[in-house]
């Protein structure tokens, strides 16, 4: 399911809302979530999961072309921990093959 599929499904289930508003809503929600993480804030959605940042410490990497050592500074990466309800619902669907 892509973002546009998601927008279509929401539009179908919320017929009282203008499709344009549903589309904008999805974009606003994703932007708000990105912005929260980009400012170091966690996201907590009960039954779905939580997003937080994990720190990756600085390390010495190599330029794959020249083999030179390069110092890479520490950075943060987004991390998702599925919530109980999501975990359980997915666990109970192992009989359905995974589609792309």
């Amino acid at each position: 399911m892509t973002k546009s599929d998601l927008i279509e499904r929401l539009t179908a289930k919320q017929p009282h809302l203008a499709p344009k508003d549903v589309e904008l809503s999805v974009k606003i929600m994703l932007e708000q979530m990105s912005l929260a993480l980009a400012s170091g804030e966690r996201i907590e959605i009960r039954g779905f999961g939580s997003f937080s940042l994990h720190f990756r410490p600085p390390r010495v990497g190599r330029n794959p072309k020249t083999g030179d050592a390069v110092t890479l500074s520490g950075k943060y990466v987004p991390h998702f921990k599925p919530g109980k309800q999501l975990r359980e619902r997915v666990m109970n669907s192992t009989h359905i093959p995974i589609k792309e």
């Binding site: 973002k3 606003i28 929600m29 980009a38 995974i98």
Partner: protein, 100 residues
């Protein structure tokens, strides 16, 4: 402070003028549609944010950490999140003090 569904509904109310009940319902449905897709075996791709990817894990040997007794960990399906390029870049530069 973590971002919650209530904050997201508030944003839709402020930015789009959805009434509070509609906004709350749409935020709830947004996460429910993602859960529905995942429980029906579909990966979810939200461009600019990231992908929710299902993975089947086969049974593996485990241990009860308290008793040391060997018990197999049954086959299961889990959800993983792969942040998109755009989100990774926005988060990488977060100059927070220390780990969360």
């Amino acid at each position: 402070m973590a971002l919650t569904k209530a904050d997201m509904a508030e944003m839709l109310y402020e930015q789009l003028g959805l009434n509070k009940r509609e906004a709350k319902e749409l935020v709830e449905l947004f996460f429910e549609e993602i859960r529905l897709a995942l429980e029906s075996g579909s990966n979810v791709k939200l461009s600019g944010y990231g992908n929710f990817v299902l993975r089947d894990k086969s049974q593996r040997p485990g241990r009860n950490p308290k008793t040391g007794e060997e018990i197999p960990i049954s086959a299961r399906r889990v959800v993983t999140f792969r942040p998109g390029q755009k989100l990774k870049q926005r988060v990488e530069n977060y100059a927070g003090s220390g780990e969360q």
